[in-house]
Amino acid sequence: MRRDPVVAPAVLLVWGAVALFVLYPLGRLLILTFWDGGPSLDAVRRLGGDWTHRVALVNSLVLAALVGIAGTALGLAAALLAVRANMSRWAVRALDAVILLPLISPPFTAAIALIFALGPRGLISYHVFGLTKVNIYGLWGTLLSETLTYFPIAYLTLKAVLANVDPNLEDSAFSLGARRWRVFRTITLPLATPGVANAFLLVSAASLADFATPLILGGTRFPVLPTQAFLQITGLYDTRGGAALCFLLLVPALAVFAGQRWVTERRGGSFVTITGKVGAATRVKSLSPAAVAGLGAVCGLVVVLVLVCYAVIFAASIVRGLGADNSLSLAHYAHVFSGGLRAVRDTLIVAVICMPVGGLFAVVLGFLVSRTQFPGRRALEFAAMLNYALPGTIVGIAYLVAFNDPPLALTGTAFILVVCYVFRYSLAGTRATSAVLAQIDPSIEEASASLGARRDTTFRRVVLPLVRPALLAGMTVLFIRAMTAISATIFLVSLQWSLVTVRILEGITNLELGQASAFSVLVIVLVYVAVVVASLVMRRLNAGSFGQAGTLLGG
C-alpha cells in the first residue's frame, strides 16, 4: 500500500504511548530487580532454596495451556451456538448475558462462590450429589475456575470472527456435496483460525497473569508463578525476588505469542471472507440438530454452574448472614447505598473513561499492526501484550516505581488508574480487531483510497464500521476489567480515589460476605447497563452499515 501522511504520526503516537506506559515502568522494575550498584543476580539467588518455584513454573505452563485449550473450546462451542444454530435473537441475548457473568466476577467472589458450589459441603457436590470427599483445591479446581472466568473472552472474540464467516461459503461446500463435519473442518474452522488463535492467546495469557484464582483454589499442592511472586512480595517482603519470578513469566508469554503468529501465518494466511461482494442472505445449516443439541448440552452445563455460583452471591447479598441467619434483609444494600456510593461513582468514572479511550487505542493498534508496515511492528505488538500477561501485582509496583516521583508524579490521580487499565486490558480489543481485520479484504480499503479518501477517512468510514463487533467486544472486556480489577489497583488507589473492588476485597477479608456480595451484584448490574448502552450507541453511530444478528454484544 502506498505511504500515507497519517500512518507515520499514528505509529509514533502509539509507540510513544506504549513506550511510556508499558516499557518505561517495566524497565524501571527490571533495573530495580537486577541492578544493585552493578548488574546483580542477587534477586534470583535469594529464590534458590525454594523447591516450589521450580514446580510453579511447570504448573503455570500446564495450567495456561489447559485453560487456553478448555477456554477456547468452550468459547468456540458457545460462539457456534450463538451464530450458527439459528437461535432467536432473545435466546442469543440471554446466552450473552449469562456468559458475561463469570468475566464480571469481582476479586475472589467467583472462587469463593465455586467453593460453595463444589466444596466439601457444596450446594452441588454435597446437597445435590451427596459427595463428601470432594477436593476442589489444586489443579482441577483452579482449571475449572479459570476456564469459567476467561472463556467469555474467547467467546467474545470468536463470535465476532464467526459472524463474519459468510454462510454462503458453507453453502457452496454443501452444494458440492460435502457433509456437515467436513464443511466445519475444512471451511468454517479454518476461516475462524485467526479468532481461535487470538482467543487462545488471550485466554492463556490471562491465566498466566492470574493470581487471585490460584490464591484461593491452588493451595500448597499446586503452586503457580503468579501466586509465588505474590507470596514472595507480600509474605516474604521480597519485591526483587517476586519481580524476578514475574519476569520469568515473559518466557511462556512470548511462546504463546509466537505460536499464535505461527498458526495464523503458516498457510500464507488468507482468511478473507468479507470482500464487499455479499451474497443473498442464507439460512445457516452448518450445524446438524445433533450438533446443536451437543453444543447446547455443554453450554447448558456451564450456564447452570455459572448461575448456581452467582445465585450464591445474590443469596448472600439479600440475607443477613449466609448460613448463620438466612432471614431476608436489605441491610447490605443499605450499606452499599449509604457508605459505598463514592466508591461506585469513582469506579464508574474511571471505567467509563477507559471504555472509549481503550477501545480506540485497541482498534488503532490492531489496525496498525495488521494493516500497515513499519519497522518494529512485531515488537510493538508484543510490547502491547506485556502488561496483560504479567501479574497485576507486579504491574502495579512497576507503575508505582515509575510514576511516584516528579516529573512523572502521577500516583494519587485517576489518570494513573485509567492509564493502567487501558494498557493492561485493551489487549482483547486489539486481538479481536486483528482477527476480524484478517477476514476483511484489503481491496475494500483500497477502493476507498482510490476514490480519494485519506487513510484516516478510510479508517473512520470503512474500517471502524467493519470491526465494530471487535471494538465492542474489546470495550466490553475493558469496561468489565476496569470495574473489577484489583491486583494492580491496590497499589494505585489513592486517598482521593476509592474503588469498588477494594471495598469488595475489604468485605471478604472482613467477613462481610453480604456487603461484598451486594457490591458485586451492583457491579454486575452496572456492567450490563454499560454494555447495553455502549451497544446501542454503537448501533446508532453506525446506522446503515451492514448488521450481524442483533445481539446484546454483536452490535
Partner: protein, 337 residues
C-alpha cells in the same frame, strides 16, 4: 479520531488534577493493614477530638510494605498504623520508617517494642482455634484443646489455616507450635508434618479460613482472635478454644514513615495512639485484641476467653533473625510431598 482520544486524555488530566488538589489542609495520611471496620472508628475518634482528618488506605501487610518501599523517595503516607510486627521488621530493614518514641513509650513492656524505637506495639493479637460447632456435634467431636487433638484422623481434610509464606497469622501459628513444644524446633516441625496430613488447604490470607469454616467447608480454622470473634458476631456458631500447651500473641505495631510530609501531625497521632484515651478504644470498638498500655480496658468477651489461654512469651529479636529460615524450613519440610 485521534482528536477524541486526545480530548479524552486532556479531560482526564484536568479532572484528576482537580481531585488531587481537593485534600484539606490538616490531613494525615495513614497506611493500615487493619480492616476498615477496626481502624476507621479509631481514626474517626481522632478526627472528632482534634479536627485532623485521617485519610487511610487499607492494604495487606506485604502490599503495604511493598507500596511504601516503592514510594520511598516521595512518601505518600505519614504513619503506618496497625500491621503485624514482622511487617515492621521488614519496613525497618527497607529503611522506610524512622525511630520515634511517644511520651508513654517507657510504660509499654520492652518485649512489645523495637529496641531502637522504630516501631511500637499498639496491641497484641492472639492465635485461636475456631471450630464449626454444628459440624463438631455432627461428628461427635469436642472442640480441640490441645495441639495433639488436631492430629485425630477425624479431622482429616477438615483443617484450614494460613500458608507460612503469608505474613502474620501463619507466623503466629509456627511460633505458637515452636514455643508450645518447648523451643525444640525439630519436634515442632515433626508435629507440623503430622498436622499437614489433616490440613485441607493452606489459605493465602491469614483469616482466609474463617468463611469456609463458618459455612462448614472445613471444621477447624486456626487463625487470629478477631477473625473468630467477628464470625461469632455475625451469628455463626463457632467454638473458640486454645491448645493447653499454649499459644503466642503477635504484636500489631505503629511507626512513623521516614521523610513523612506531615511529620508533626504524624507524631501527635502516634502520641495519642499510646494514650489511655486511644488504648481504651480497642475495647470500645470491638477490635478483639489486647491493648499494650498497662491498665487500658480489655474487651469482656476477650478477657473471659483469655482466662483459658496460656500465653507464651516471644523473643522478638530471635523471631526477627529466624523468621525467614522458619518459613523456608516449612516450605521444604512440611508441605513437600
Amino acid at each position: 479520531m485521534r482528536d477524541w482520544t486526545l480530548a479524552a486524555c486532556v479531560a482526564v488530566l484536568i479532572m484528576a488534577g482537580g481531585y488531587a488538589g481537593e485534600a484539606a489542609a490538616e490531613t494525615l495520611n495513614v497506611y493500615t493493614a487493619w480492616p476498615e471496620s477496626l481502624s476507621q472508628p479509631i481514626f474517626k475518634a481522632y478526627t472528632a477530638k482534634t479536627g485532623v482528618q485521617v485519610n487511610f488506605i487499607r492494604l495487606s501487610t506485604g502490599e503495604l510494605v511493598a507500596r511504601a518501599t516503592a514510594e520511598k523517595n516521595n512518601p505518600r503516607a505519614d504513619v503506618i498504623w496497625g500491621a503485624p510486627g514482622d511487617g515492621f521488621a521488614a519496613a525497618k530493614e527497607a529503611g522506610i520508617i524512622e525511630p520515634y518514641r511517644p511520651p508513654t513509650w517507657d510504660k509499654i513492656p520492652a518485649e512489645l517494642r523495637d529496641k531502637d524505637g522504630y516501631y511500637t506495639a499498639v496491641s497484641r493479637n492472639t492465635l485461636v482455634f475456631m471450630s464449626n460447632a454444628k459440624l463438631l456435634k455432627e461428628k461427635g467431636l469436642k472442640a480441640p484443646t490441645s495441639w495433639n487433638d488436631l492430629l485425630d484422623p477425624a479431622y482429616k481434610g477438615q483443617i484450614q489455616t494460613a500458608d507460612a509464606r503469608t505474613s502474620g497469622t501463619a507466623l503466629t501459628r509456627i511460633l505458637s507450635i515452636y514455643y508450645a513444644f518447648g523451643k525444640d524446633e525439630d519436634k515442632a516441625f515433626d508435629y507440623q508434618k503430622k498436622l499437614h496430613a489433616n490440613v485441607q488447604v493452606y489459605t493465602k490470607s491469614g483469616g482466609g479460613c474463617t468463611i469456609p469454616a463458618a459455612l462448614g467447608q472445613a471444621i477447624v480454622c486456626i487463625a487470629h482472635m478477631p477473625d473468630a470473634m467477628e464470625a461469632r458476631k455475625k451469628g455463626y456458631d463457632m467454638a473458640v478454644t486454645f491448645p493447653k500447651e499454649g499459644v503466642v500473641a503477635v504484636i500489631e505495631g505503629v511507626a512513623l514513615v521516614k521523610g513523612a510530609k506531615n511529620r508533626e501531625l504524624a507524631t501527635k497521632f502516634i502520641d495519642w495512639t499510646f494514650s489511655r484515651d486511644m488504648q481504651d478504644l480497642l475495647d470500645k470498638h470491638d477490635v478483639y485484641m489486647l491493648p499494650t498500655l498497662p491498665g487500658a480496658s480489655i474487651d469482656a468477651n476477650v478477657q473471659a476467653l483469655m482466662k483459658e489461654a496460656k500465653l507464651l512469651p516471644v523473643d522478638l529479636e530471635w523471631v526477627g533473625k529466624n523468621r525467614k529460615r522458619l518459613v523456608e524450613r516449612w516450605v521444604n519440610e512440611v508441605i513437600k510431598e
